[in-house]
């Protein structure tokens, strides 16, 4: 494809100011729509793992307290 | 003996709500004051020319009254939720839709009726021709119950939430577009000397439909929102 053809493609017959922003909005909105659940999922799994870790830690602590080998409060 | 019991329950519901509203008379005056102040601001914002004010008067009054009603709508169930009487109502043997219909009627009497009474004053402030005022009042008599009924369904939906003021506006105002169009259409037609009956009849038809369906929808919405 020649440079001139490419240039005329990007010029969109003088309507580049309207056509390309429209396409930009289309892609930006859809990319944002795709990304938001990805981030949400990551955050969710992190919280979940933290909660599981806390729970198991608390259980470990509870068993420590009942054991007679406990030294400091 | 069922029907007299039902009629008694309806009357008791209406009486209770009207008594409660009467005990807090100051709250009844609030929407009217709000509408007066908003209407007062328009001439200052747009300039005092009679012709301009006359042209926009119908629409301004309708939108102002819609917003004043929105302001009061939030309180429709809030005190009943706080003191738990709404839950009693849900559990009561009487049909919930009918009882809610009575509550909506009481709410319409205490908020919309004062606004309609004040409408000639608002119209005079904006120099609306006296001949158009009956049409405006008729349109309001049909449009305000429609808004009360529609709004009650949405208020019932938000009953279980804490922050509901702006959310209610976001949900209600798009649903109001047809009511505003027909009410304002009737007023504009009357102002131009055109036949104004058609939009009024459309409003009446919508009101009949809403009277039949909205209390049922309101009951269903309340059951969803209170079902914790």
């Amino acid at each position: 494809m020649s440079v001139q053809a490419l240039q005329s493609f990007f010029a969109m017959g003088g309507y580049a100011v309207y056509v390309w922003p429209a396409y930009a909005v289309f892609f930006i909105v859809l990319i944002a729509d795709t990304c938001s659940p990805i981030f949400r999922r990551r955050r969710l799994l992190r919280e979940l793992n933290a909660r599981v870790a806390r729970q198991s830690a608390r259980q470990g602590q509870a068993s420590d307290k009942t054991s007679p080998t406990q030294t400091t409060p | 003996m069922k029907n007299p019991g039902l009629a008694n329950a309806c009357a008791a519901m209406l009486r209770r709500d009207l008594t409660l509203a009467w005990r807090r008379r100051g709250d009844i005056a609030m929407p009217v004051l709000y509408a007066l102040i908003v209407t007062m601001l328009f001439p200052f914002a747009l300039g005092p020319e009679d012709s301009l004010l006359q042209r926009i008067a119908g629409g301004v009054i309708l939108v102002t009254i819609l917003l004043s009603m929105l302001l009061a709508l939030d309180a429709l169930f809030s005190s009943d939720i706080e003191d738990g009487s709404l839950e009693q109502l849900v559990l009561a043997p009487q049909p919930l839709a009918l009882m809610l219909g009575m509550k909506i009627l009481a709410h319409w009497i205490t908020t919309a009726l004062p606004l309609i009474v004040a409408t000639p004053l608002l119209a005079a402030m904006l120099h609306l021709p006296a001949a158009v005022i009956p049409v405006l009042l008729l349109a309001l008599l049909l449009a305000t119950p429609l808004l009360s009924l529609l709004g009650a369904v949405l208020v019932a939906l938000t009953a279980g939430t804490r922050r509901s003021g702006m959310l209610l506006a976001l949900m209600l105002l798009p649903l109001c577009v047809p009511a505003v169009i027909f009410a304002a259409g009737a007023v504009a037609a009357a102002q131009q000397g055109l036949p104004w009956l058609a939009p009024i009849v459309w409003l009446a038809a919508a009101l009949v439909l809403a009277v039949a369906l909205a209390p049922l929808a309101c009951a269903a919405a309340l059951r969803i929102a209170l079902d914790a």
């Binding site: 729509d33 999922r41 799994l45 | 922050r163």
Partner: protein, 252 residues
């Protein structure tokens, strides 16, 4: 013999099964969406000839019209699953309804913005109070209302049911708004615009349009699957199958 379909649907509506099902299907949906989108947009932007009236500005049609169709299609899906969620109280239907709303709002927003970017060179205005445009705007507000109501509740399932109810009210309302604005327009004799001046659209322009439409359908499926999977993880966070997934994927 013919009851394997309800049985299969019943199985599918259980969250862990749907989670796996959506997980295997989602990459294919996204791949189809990207492939068809690339083909359709190449056909629309490069191969299709300029319009004899609108020049190259009409090329916005290839995203505007599919988005507009999707905004209504997704509202339909949301309404149907809202109905199912309210009547049969199926958790998956609530998830589908509530996770459709943001995607629908995104497509409605795209429709409005691309429409006004198209309207400016063609009609000389960004916006006009036409029935079609106003209905689309009301549709956006409805989507936002559904999303707002869903998030206003502390209990997610209760919020989903309340918002589902609002979605059903909206389904009744949108046609009423459309016809009342049409009536309003005839009263005011305002700026009536005719987007589809020539109803016969050339094949060169039609096939990219249909291809992009298909691509947006696949995109919706992929996005819905991704969102529904995330939402199911959040809703079922106490369950064992979610903990297993969290433990497996947390290590990576």
């Amino acid at each position: 013999m013919s009851n394997w379909i309800p049985l299969w649907l019943h199985k599918l509506s259980s969250p862990p099964t749907f989670y796996r099902f959506a997980g295997t299907l989602r990459p294919w949906m996204m791949a189809f969406a990207l492939l068809l989108g690339a083909i359709g947009l190449y056909g629309g932007l490069v191969l299709a000839p300029p319009d004899y009236q609108q020049g190259d500005a009409y090329r916005i049609i290839f995203i505007h019209v599919p988005s507009a169709w999707m905004s209504m299609f997704i509202y339909g899906v949301m309404g149907v699953s809202a109905f199912i969620a309210l009547v049969w109280r199926i958790k998956l239907a609530e998830v589908v309804a509530m996770e459709s709303a943001p995607i629908g709002a995104a497509f409605t927003f795209i429709t409005l913005v691309t429409g006004s970017l198209w309207g400016k060179p063609m009609w000389g205005t960004w916006w006009t109070w036409d029935a079609r445009l106003t209905s689309e705007l009301v549709l956006l507000f409805l989507y936002l209302g559904v999303i707002g109501l869903y998030h206003a509740f502390e209990d997610r399932r209760q919020g989903a049911r309340a918002a589902a109810f609002l979605a059903i009210i909206g389904i009744i309302n949108v046609p009423i708004v459309h016809y009342s604005v049409t009536w309003w327009n005839t009263l005011h004799q305002g700026s009536t615009v005719n987007i589809f001046g020539h109803s016969k659209i050339a094949w060169d322009m039609l096939w990219p349009l249909l291809t992009v439409t298909l691509a947006t359908k696949f995109y919706y499926a992929a996005s819905l699957f991704r969102r529904a999977r995330t939402d199911l993880l959040a809703l079922e966070s106490g369950k064992e199958w979610v903990r297993q997934i969290a433990a497996r994927e947390g290590k990576r």
